[in-house]
């Protein structure tokens, strides 16, 4: 199927966002000046929509192919020869199969909606086109990640989205906290990347050592391409169980970094410092799911390693639980959603660990719908509330922003697992596969069964904290912001002026505390920072929330529809499962879908409905009438649990202290102990020696012709003398 003409259009899918990126970066400012923001924004949305259109066409075409062919072989399109060294040939090639096209649809589809939304959300920002430059570049990088036909291309995309994420988190870069969050995200992701690269290299080592044996050398050295490598990998891994687990774990470390799993999750909540469309697009719907994509793509490695699968399960379940608990201590609406994202990602990893890779992707898809919806909804709320993100200031918003509220309720019901909505189907499938199978084992202990129960518990917690968030925002007794006294300030008459700098600064400072480690700025620089947060609160009792403009609520409605019906459509008749894995898995074959003999004789569906119901009921009891006293403004009166949850149970602080302080101690030692004495000593010593000889030579260079001529003569005599010596002592052969 190589080079299939009819799939050539794929280059348009990649090209459109790239083109948009070039337009925005090179001409954006001029377009904005000449034609206004609307045109510039329009030009940013169009390429993504066009890419989505082409992707739909291609997917239709793909759907017309044989089920096995389209899922397991796909179509490979090569653009150019990229790396060619000795027996390795890594072309720039893409693989069009069901997995990659699913992701392409999510990325460009959700991406279009979020781009559209962003044209409204960012309308008052200064660097409008810079924002869309990054956003378009992100889409392009993400597409390379999912479409690439080898791990090298995946890595390019992987790093590309990392860079875009960094740029976008730090979009309001003048604010210390945002820059710090960006740095944190970047650095923590590097840790994951080490894992990914080591895993990739191990894979290369394994393949390079055995490529003759498998007869895959014939494909013109393309033995790193998926279509050449994957069919043979299982056989190869079978002979190297230790290596298999090592590769699987290394790849999983990479996935943990990008997909924010414990212990590397801690960048994601901070990443919410970026503009809300970014949180929705990158940190909820697309980029953070690339770990799941990686696990799906390389599922053969995990199928061959029950131990690694068990670890994936355990990490996923722990992350799901841990993040859900932290969510109870958050008052920032975006932070709640951030932890809920971390938690939901944990669910996806539980599914992958249990061997149900397609379920992981299924949850990726439904989660993309409802989490993008929730984020955009929260953005609409924040927009309506003068960019105040603290839920304690909200309440009774339903009547002001009805469209936002209705769509957000759909998203909330979806994530809580109300039967019939999309989240229910995917969560049901995750728990079902986890409870029914025993792939994830370490020395006979079936971890997938255990995490299945944990997952059920977390599902209840999810319903609980999402109820809390939604009710605090839209319900309650009072409109909390009415109790905020207006602050007078000279420079800002209008609440929306420059909000990017002021309010974000405000919240970020509260959340992160001062830069106590001096990691990013010295004390002097910190002191020089303007104390913007002392200025004012734009939200005060005179504020009246308004519904968002049409460019912002249209995406909400579309996502609302998808969140409601998407799960049913995809789950019906195993549509999604057979789309991705028509013949089951290569090694594990067909997995059990429904667990039998659950305790109490109830079916899983009953259990999960009970869990969701309990969560919602608990939440409603506590929060229906608004914010309880013990969660009020005075944080010292909070319950110990809630305080601990707010601080991520001390984990973030511990990690930052250990890495920053520990890193500084290590650096100081290597500076004073190693560099200053040993290395400098050696370097200075040899430099001193070389300079000394140079000085002697310089002294010989006295400028007198007679001396130079004498030198030449002596040299000539020496050479002739040696030649004569060599001749007469018979050195010649």
């Amino acid at each position: 199927m190589e080079g299939n003409q009819s799939f050539n259009l794929i280059w348009l899918v990649l090209g459109f966002p790239l083109f948009g990126f070039l337009i925005q970066s090179l001409l954006g400012k001029r377009i904005e000046k000449a034609f206004g923001r609307r045109v510039a924004g329009f030009l940013a949305v169009i390429p993504i929509v066009a890419a989505f259109g082409v992707a739909v066409l291609l997917t239709k075409q793909l759907a017309g192919m044989d089920a096995t062919q389209r899922a397991e072989v796909g179509v490979v399109q090569t653009l150019f020869s990229w790396i060619k060294i000795a027996s390795i040939n890594i072309p720039f090639e893409v693989r069009i199969d069901t997995l990659s096209m699913t992701m392409v649809l999510i990325i460009t589809g959700i991406g279009s909606l979020i781009h559209l939304y962003a044209t409204g959300y960012m309308a008052e920002e200064k660097d409008y086109t810079r924002f869309f430059t990054y956003l378009n570049l992100f889409i392009a990088a993400m597409l390379i990640l999912v479409l690439g036909n080898n791990l090298a291309l995946l890595f390019i995309g992987w790093e590309g989205v990392g860079v875009c994420s960094y740029l976008l988190i730090g979009f309001w870069y003048k604010d210390l906290a945002n820059s710090r969050a960006a740095n944190k995200a970047f650095i923590v992701n590097r840790i994951g990347d080490v894992g990914l690269t080591v895993g990739m290299f191990l894979l290369v080592v394994l393949l390079a050592g055995n490529k003759d044996k498998l007869g895959i050398d014939g494909a013109s050295g393309r033995w790193l391409s998926y279509d050449v490598m994957l069919p043979h990998l299982g056989e190869l891994l079978k002979g190297n169980p230790g290596m298999t687990t090592a590769i699987a774990l290394c790849l999983f470390v990479g996935a943990c970094g990008k997909s924010a799993q414990f212990p590397l999750y801690l960048w994601l909540p901070d990443a919410m410092a970026g503009p809300t469309p970014v949180s929705a697009l990158i940190h909820a719907a697309t980029m953070v799911t690339s770990g799941i994509v990686l696990l799906n793509r390389m599922n053969i490695v995990f199928q061959m390693s029950p131990v690694a699968s068990a670890i994936v399960c355990i990490v996923g379940a722990f992350t799901a639980l841990f993040a859900a608990l932290i969510a109870f201590g958050q008052t920032d609406i975006k932070k709640v959603l951030a932890y809920s994202t971390v938690s939901q990602l944990g669910f996806m990893f539980m599914a992958c660990g249990a061997g149900a890779y397609w379920v992981g992707m299924f949850h990726v898809t439904t989660h993309a719908f409802f989490k993008a919806l929730l984020f955009l909804g929260s953005g609409a709320v924040i927009h309506a509330m003068a960019h105040n993100q603290d839920m304690r200031n909200y309440g009774k918003l339903f009547k002001y922003i009805p469209i936002t509220a209705v769509t957000m309720f759909i998203g909330y019901f979806a994530i809580a697992g109300i039967p019939g909505l999309s989240g229910f189907f995917s969560k049901e499938a995750i728990l079902g596969y986890a409870l029914a199978n025993d792939h994830a084992q370490i020395s006979g202990v079936n971890f997938s069964y255990i995490v299945g129960w944990v997952g059920l518990g977390v599902a209840m917690l999810t319903a609980f904290y999402m109820t809390r968030m939604t009710l605090l925002t839209f319900n309650g007794k009072t409109e909390q912001w009415r109790s905020i006294e207006p602050h007078h300030h000279d420079e800002h008459d209008h609440a929306h002026d420059d909000h990017g700098h002021h309010d974000h600064a405000h919240h970020a400072h509260e959340d992160h505390g001062p830069d106590e480690h001096g990691f990013f700025y010295t004390d002097e620089e910190l002191a020089a920072q303007p104390h913007e947060h002392e200025h004012h609160h734009d939200l005060d009792k005179n504020h009246t929330p308004h519904e968002v403009p049409v460019s912002m609520w249209v995406p909400l409605v579309v996502l609302g529809v998808l969140s409601a019906g998407g799960g049913y459509v995809l789950a019906n008749n195993h549509l999604f499962e057979h789309w991705l894995y028509p013949n089951g898995l290569s090694v594990l074959k067909e997995l059990e879908e429904h667990p039998h003999h659950l305790p109490g004789g109830l079916s899983l569906m009953a259990y999960s409905i009970i869990a969701a119901g309990l969560g919602i009921v608990f939440g409603a009891i506590i929060y229906f009438r608004g914010l309880p006293k013990k969660e009020g403004w005075d944080e010292s009166k909070w319950s110990p649990f809630r305080r601990a949850a707010r601080d991520q149970f001390g984990y973030d602080n511990a990690m930052v202290s250990a890495s920053v302080d520990g890193g500084r101690d290590l650096a100081t030692f290597s500076w004073r102990g190693l560099d200053a004495t040993v290395i400098d000593g050696a370097v200075n010593g040899s430099g001193w020696l070389a300079t000394g000889i140079g000085k002697v030579l310089g002294w010989l260079q006295n400028g007198f012709i007679r001396a130079y001529a004498a030198g030449m003569l002596l040299g000539g005599v020496a050479i002739l003398g040696y030649l004569a010596y060599a001749l007469f002592t018979g050195v010649k052969k």
């Binding site: 130079y708 040299g715 050195v731 010649k732």
Partner: protein, 487 residues
């Protein structure tokens, strides 16, 4: 009476040399017709002539090897490539000459014909195996350079440079000529290849003659190539001569001398067991002494002088690698290295020449401080040149050094390979000083360097050299194939 048969003449073979000679004459005529006018026409004619010469060289790449003028002038790939490199060196040096000479207030029109004829000398050197013709070539090249070195007549430095170069050059020519005489005496022929055939049959008496003749010629060529211990003129002369002349001197005369040495060693290959150890020592000394002495220099042109000495040492390693293992190592690395050396050296001299202003020229590091303010682009290009001179990847200097290193290992010259590697490290320090002077050490106080427009020629030469260096790195295999042909 003698009755010489008139030699047959293949005009195609000598076309490049002829074109350059005639261009020189044309340039001279233009100077005579319009004295004191600006030199635009002269430069134009010279550059066009050089391009035509280059075309006539490249066009012959596909021609078979041939000889003419009674076997004194030869055409083979080696001769063609070396001619091309010489033309490139002259072309690049000419590009930035006018603006520099103007800044230095010495824009004499005769500069152009003289440098073209100097080029002719170099081209004669590389297209012959006849020792007398080789000598003639050297002298044509050198005498023109003696004159050019003293072009800045009002500067005692320049005068001193010319005189020093002339006296020591004559001394070296004495060695060379004596060596040629000894070889003629031993073989009865002026052709280098006669040495090869004479050596195996020679008795001890003739062997002595041959060995001494070889040694003498080596001293003569070693002087031109600036091998230690015949190198001491280099920094003094480079420093004193006008910078554009130094550029051509560093690139052109070295290409000619090293190519001649190559030819000569080809003839003397039979006695390599005798000369190999001696030349190995010379190579090590040349690399090391050049680098060590450069460390303490405070003048950019002197640094480049010493740098050219150490580069001659690197190239000698490449040459020795070929003769130690002729089957494994061709002249590809040598040609590639010379190309890269030409680009980076001429480029570096061009940037240093920006120190000239209003008849004065400062080339000491302290006088070059903050030069980047004057011309950010040119000084940015200098970073590429210096990176290449050091041998940092992404530049042809790296690729060239790497290939010579590989050649030395292939030919089992491990000691030379190690010496080369160590010297590469040594050289980093003084090259970086140059960058440091122009970028980091800024001018203080009221000293203000205003941004002056840089001439088109200067910009072109910087762009050409820097672009060439990077492109030659990226397309290394393509470049080598172009130079040595498909094997």
């Amino acid at each position: 009476m003698f009755n010489f048969p008139a030699p047959t003449i293949d005009w195609v073979i000598i076309a490049p040399t002829m074109i350059v000679s005639i261009t020189g004459l044309l340039a001279l005529c233009l100077e005579m017709i319009w004295p004191k006018r600006d030199n635009t026409w002269i430069i134009g004619v010279s550059l066009v002539g050089l391009i035509m010469a280059a075309v006539s060289v490249v066009a012959q790449f596909s021609y078979p090897e041939a000889t003419t003028f009674s076997d004194t002038v030869i055409r083979d790939r080696f001769a063609l490539v070396m001619q091309l490199l010489l033309i490139v060196a002259a072309f690049c040096s000419l590009l930035f000459s006018e603006s520099y000479l103007r800044d230095k207030r010495i824009s004499y029109g005769e500069f152009y014909p003289i440098i073209l004829w100097s080029l002719v000398g170099g081209m004669v050197m590389v297209t012959t195996r006849n020792m007398l013709l080789m000598f003639l070539g050297i002298e044509i090249l050198s005498i023109a350079l003696y004159v050019l070195a003293g072009l800045s007549r009002s500067e005692s430095k320049s005068e001193e440079s010319a005189l020093k170069y002339f006296l020591l050059g004559s001394f070296a020519s004495g060695f060379l000529l004596y060596g040629v005489a000894l070889l003629y005496g031993a073989t009865g022929s002026l052709d280098i290849s006669a040495i090869a055939s004479a050596w195996p049959r020679a008795d001890l008496m003739h062997q002595t003659l041959l060995v001494f003749g070889f040694g003498m010629v080596f001293v003569g060529l070693g002087f031109k190539s600036a091998f230690v211990p015949f190198h001491q003129w280099t920094p003094d002369v480079y420093q004193g001569a006008p910078t554009n002349v130094s550029a051509f001197m560093a690139a052109g005369s070295k290409i000619g001398a090293l190519a001649a040495l190559w030819r000569f060693l080809e003839g003397a290959e039979g006695m390599k067991a005798i000369w190999m150890p001696a030349l190995t020592v010379v190579a090590i000394l040349t690399m090391t002494a050049g680098n060590l002495a450069a460390l303490v220099q405070k003048d950019a042109k002197r640094v480049l002088g010493y740098s050219s000495i150490s580069h001659a040492g690197y190239i000698l390693v490449g040459i020795l690698a070929h003769f130690a293992a002729p089957d494994k190592v061709g002249f590809g690395s040598l040609a590639y290295y010379l190309l890269s050396y030409t680009l980076m050296t001429v480029g570096a001299f061009a940037v240093v020449s920006l120190g000239a202003n209003k008849g004065k020229e400062g080339t000491k590091f302290e006088e070059l401080r903050g030069l980047w303010r004057r011309s950010p682009f040119a000084v940015a290009c200098l970073i590429v040149f210096v990176a290449s001179l050091i041998g940092i990847p992404l530049t042809s200097g790296f690729a060239g050094k790497f290939m010579i290193f590989g050649d030395a290992l292939k030919a089992n010259l491990t000691v030379l390979a190690i010496a080369l590697a160590i010297n590469s490290i040594l050289s980093v320090a003084y090259y970086l000083q140059m960058i440091k002077a122009m970028f980091v050490d800024d001018v203080e106080g009221d000293e203000v360097i205003e941004k002056r427009p840089v001439s088109l020629g200067m910009t072109t030469v910087c762009a050409l050299c820097a672009g060439g260096i990077v492109a030659a790195f990226i397309f290394t295999p393509v470049v080598i194939e172009f130079l040595v042909g498909k094997s």
